[in-house]
């Protein structure tokens, strides 16, 4: 599959009409955001970003037909999803503020927020090494949502470049009020931004949600120490030591500078820590130091305001990232370790796949025609996306929708 290399930004304008018409799962999309009720969709803000920085906000569509027609006409570079408002956004009165009534709870995690700990790539780049941070993040958040809050309808989506989104779509998540969203967002936030180098502080007992997160981190941590080489240079070691409190720093500095590789240094740190613990030389407020450091390096870094606010817009699944050409595909958290962000279908790739498939079938048909088989002409037309690598992500989306539907029914009619 070398086809993704072929994506060229300048082709986007020609590819998008084809993509929306033949591949974008508009019907799924509509079904999702209707939640079994057409008026729910009609009250939803759906914004389009067009070429030349034109941005159409506060659009809403009364019917499926209206939505797709507009989609085919505008071929947006990006689709953003906003909240469900009490009045239809498009029918709003100028000067009167719209009142949001519901929205999925969303999470937005981006690798750029890890730039102080990832060394393999920077900025917009991403590889399977730093993707591990996203794997950890999605696992920790997903488990917390399920086990602590009993949210089960969570759609995880690759953001098209270097991040991930989660759409928590359970009814009681969509209806969260102005207290609920920030409460959950803060509950899941462990790193505190501020002047201090040390961003995590665990005093007293460690909360179950954090010890659970640590278990997940532990599976990855040795690899991260190596791959990200977090202690491998003098500068990185200096950074590490600056997190430590003054009163213990030198003790660790000595033993850690004696060895050279990242793994050896981490090992030296751990050994020293345990030794100091046995001799009671670790001050009480630092007894969770190892955990604090692991969390600082690997705990999910949420863009908390996206989660807190009900009116925040977020890019829709199955958009095409205009710079990379990658489709924002859903992924399964259980298999996130096998997800390769550089092997995500691009728009040029899937359109080629459709063409290739069609060409092949045509050839087959022609050969068959020559042999005069009667059955082929009756063949049912197969959906275009099924001919491409979009098949699996769309199946994942369908599965999500199926569970959502079951859940909605259960809620309405428990018997």
């Amino acid at each position: 599959m070398d086809s993704q290399a072929k994506f060229d930004e300048s082709h986007l304008r020609d590819l998008l009409p084809l993509y929306y018409k033949r591949l974008f799962p508009a019907a799924h999309f509509y079904k999702w955001l209707s939640y079994g009720n057409a008026s729910t969709f009609a009250h939803r803000e759906i914004s389009f970003a067009l070429e030349n920085d034109i941005y159409l906000r506060f659009q809403s569509f009364d019917t499926y037909k209206e939505f797709v027609e507009e989609l085919y006409k505008k071929n947006p570079i990006k689709i953003d999803i906003g909240p469900i408002y009490l009045t239809k956004p498009k029918a709003r009165n100028m000067g009167q503020a719209l009142q949001a009534s519901a929205k999925e709870m969303v999470f937005d995690i981006d690798l750029t927020d890890y730039d102080d700990v990832r060394t393999c790539c920077s900025g917009a780049d991403v590889c399977t090494k730093c993707w591990k941070f996203m794997a950890i993040a999605s696992k920790i958040i997903d488990t917390a949502l399920r086990e602590d809050f009993r949210y089960v309808n969570v759609l995880w989506v690759f953001s098209g470049r270097r991040g991930i989104h989660a759409w928590v779509s359970d009814e009681h998540a969509r209806g969260l009020d102005i207290n609920g969203r920030p409460a959950i967002a803060e509950y899941l936030t462990v790193l505190k931004e501020g002047m201090k180098k040390k961003k995590v502080s665990l005093t007293g007992h460690i909360h179950t949600s954090i010890s659970r997160a640590l278990k997940i981190i532990d599976k990855y941590f040795p690899t991260i120490v190596k791959e990200q080489d977090i202690l491998g240079t003098d500068e990185r070691l200096k950074n590490f030591l600056s997190i430590l409190d003054d009163n213990v720093r030198t003790q660790f500095k000595d033993c850690m500078t004696k060895v050279t590789t990242s793994a050896e240094r981490w090992e030296a740190f751990e050994r020293k820590f345990m030794q100091l613990q046995q001799t009671n030389e670790i001050p009480r407020n630092l007894k969770n130091l190892r955990e604090e450091i692991k969390l600082q390096y690997a705990y999910p870094r949420l863009d908390i305001n996206v989660t807190k606010g009900i009116t925040h817009l977020l890019k829709a699944p199955f958009c095409v990232h205009p710079k990379t050409g990658k489709v924002c595909v859903p992924f399964n958290v259980k298999h996130v370790d096998n997800f390769d962000p550089n092997n995500v279908p691009t728009i040029s790739m899937i359109i080629n796949e459709v063409d290739a498939y069609d060409k092949k079938t045509k050839e087959q048909e022609e050969t068959l025609m020559e042999t005069d088989e009667p059955s082929v002409t009756n063949q049912v037309k197969i959906k275009d996306y099924k001919k491409t690598s979009l098949l699996r992500p769309i199946n994942l989306f369908s599965e999500f929708l199926k569970n959502l539907e079951k859940d909605t029914k259960k809620r309405v009619d428990p018997f």
Binding site: E147, D148, R150, L176, N179, G204, H205, H207, T208, I210
Partner: protein
């Protein structure tokens, strides 16, 4: 509760039903009171509760940490000082059943409903009232013992689900690490309750509670968080509803009371009493520099500069002057001499004299008007060209900064004051300003310009007395 109660018979005895109605210090006030009360008591109860709430609010503004022991002590002390003994009784934790206890709960109940009527009128008032009600509920709640809390739950049919011993045994480790402030033994001793996590979102936010499948597991002490959240929801919707269906009150005194409660009744009213020392009009300029709060200093300086003040400026400054002890003749003379610098005496007599007489209570209804409190000044509308205002609230930042340093606040004081202003604590800013411009801080937070003046004068008096003796 009947708002036309004045015309009805007055009950003086506590009936049997009250003993059952008022059998617990804690209440969520589910029912409207149905006893008849005289208007005077109605007024008194309304003011008492506003005062109680002011005290609670002040305690935090004074810098005490919420629900700390000092915070609670400060509130209790202030309640005693302000004659709110009956409310203090509700904090005893004994849940007594004497006549006095019942009377106290009755006062709590009725005053709560009076304030509902008074405070449902705007978003801002509702917010303030709701916050205070929740704090008041919590203060009472935390004073109660476990058995009496259980009694309260039962009386109010609050069916909180406790977890079984087996479940507790299963979750033991989690409960211990997730419930701050409780050690292993305490966790095992306490009952734990299972509530929807949103009921205790404040605990969730701080990660101070164990969560499992959408439920929060809380010990009895944290139940208050959940009850508060139910209380908040119901009370808030009831207030909105009440505002929509507010009856037209046919009694002017009553409707005046209810509409102005928040602004008008905050501590001492500072109307003139006869035992006040008269002040010498010749001293006013000096007083304005040494003893006036900024609002009055601004009015005075504007008057001296323009020889005129607009309507509200005249009213607010006039009432202030009267309350600091300016006698009637001198009061009229004061205004006349200033105003006639730009108009002739005839014009003054024709256009203004009646108003000043009225202000002083000499003509018309002859009301002894109270001077404006800080709240009233802070909440008032200040238009262009108006000199009446609370400078801490209404001046723009640059002008305020210049003014307070011109008036003698040292630079570190200026920035501290500006910080308070930034956070909307105008009266605390004024209190700080007092502190920085006097040898000694005021004994209370400033909530009345006349209080400011009196406290400032007292410092001088103390000094002169010392010198004399």
């Amino acid at each position: 509760m009947d708002t036309n109660a004045r015309r009805r018979r007055v009950h003086t005895t506590v009936e049997d039903t009250e003993a059952t109605l008022y059998n617990h210090d804690l209440s969520l006030y589910p029912k409207f009171p149905c006893s008849e009360i005289p208007l005077s008591e109605f007024e008194e109860l309304a003011i008492d509760r506003v005062q109680l709430f002011r005290i609670i609010e002040q305690a935090s503004l004074k810098g005490h940490k919420y629900f700390s022991d000092e915070w609670k002590k400060c509130i209790k002390d202030d309640m005693m000082k302000n004659n709110l003994k009956k409310f203090v009784r509700l904090l005893s934790g004994f849940n007594g059943q004497t006549e006095l206890d019942i009377q106290a709960r009755r006062a709590d109940h009725i005053s709560h409903f009076i304030l509902r009527i008074a405070y449902c009128r705007s978003e801002e008032l509702r917010k303030w009232f709701l916050a205070r009600e929740l704090e008041w509920f919590k203060i009472k709640f935390v004073s109660n013992s476990t058995p009496s809390i259980l009694k309260f739950l039962q009386l109010n049919e609050l069916n909180y689900q406790t977890i079984s011993n087996e479940e507790k045994e299963d979750l033991k480790e989690s409960l211990i690490v997730c419930t701050p402030g409780m050690n292993d033994v305490q966790v095992m001793m306490s009952e734990f309750y299972k509530v929807p996590f949103l009921d205790v979102w404040t605990l969730v936010q701080k990660r101070r509670v164990f969560l499992k499948e959408g439920y929060a597991y809380i010990p009895i002490n944290d139940l208050v968080v959940s009850i508060q959240s139910t209380f908040r929801t119901t009370l808030s919707s009831k207030l909105v509803l009440m505002n929509r269906n507010l009856p037209n009150l046919d009694d002017e005194r009553l409707s005046n009371l209810l509409c102005n409660l928040h602004q008008a009744y905050t501590g001492n009213e500072y109307t003139v009493s006869n035992d006040k020392d008269a002040i010498n009009p010749a001293d006013i300029d000096e007083y304005s520099k040494k003893h006036y709060p900024l609002c009055m200093r601004n009015l005075h300086e504007t008057l001296r500069a323009n020889h005129h003040l607009k309507h509200y400026g005249r009213l607010i400054y006039g009432l202030f002057l009267k309350a600091i002890g300016l006698k009637y003749e001198q009061f009229i003379e004061f205004w006349r001499s200033e105003f006639t610098k730009t108009m002739d005496t005839d014009a003054f007599n024709k256009n203004h004299l009646y108003n000043f007489n009225h202000q002083f209570g000499k003509v018309g209804k002859r009301v002894n008007y109270s001077p404006y409190s800080c709240m009233k000044i802070i909440m008032s509308n200040v238009g262009a060209g108006d000199a009446h205002c609370c400078p801490f609230r209404h001046f723009d930042v640059g002008r305020l900064r210049a003014k307070i340093s011109e008036c003698g606040a040292p630079s570190e004081g200026v920035s501290e004051i500006m910080q308070l202003v930034n956070n909307g604590h105008y009266q605390i800013a004024c209190t700080k300003y007092f502190q920085y411009t006097h040898p000694q801080p005021s004994s209370n937070t400033i909530n009345h310009p006349n209080q400011y003046f009196e406290e400032s004068m007292n410092l001088v008096k103390d000094k002169t007395e010392k010198i004399v003796s």
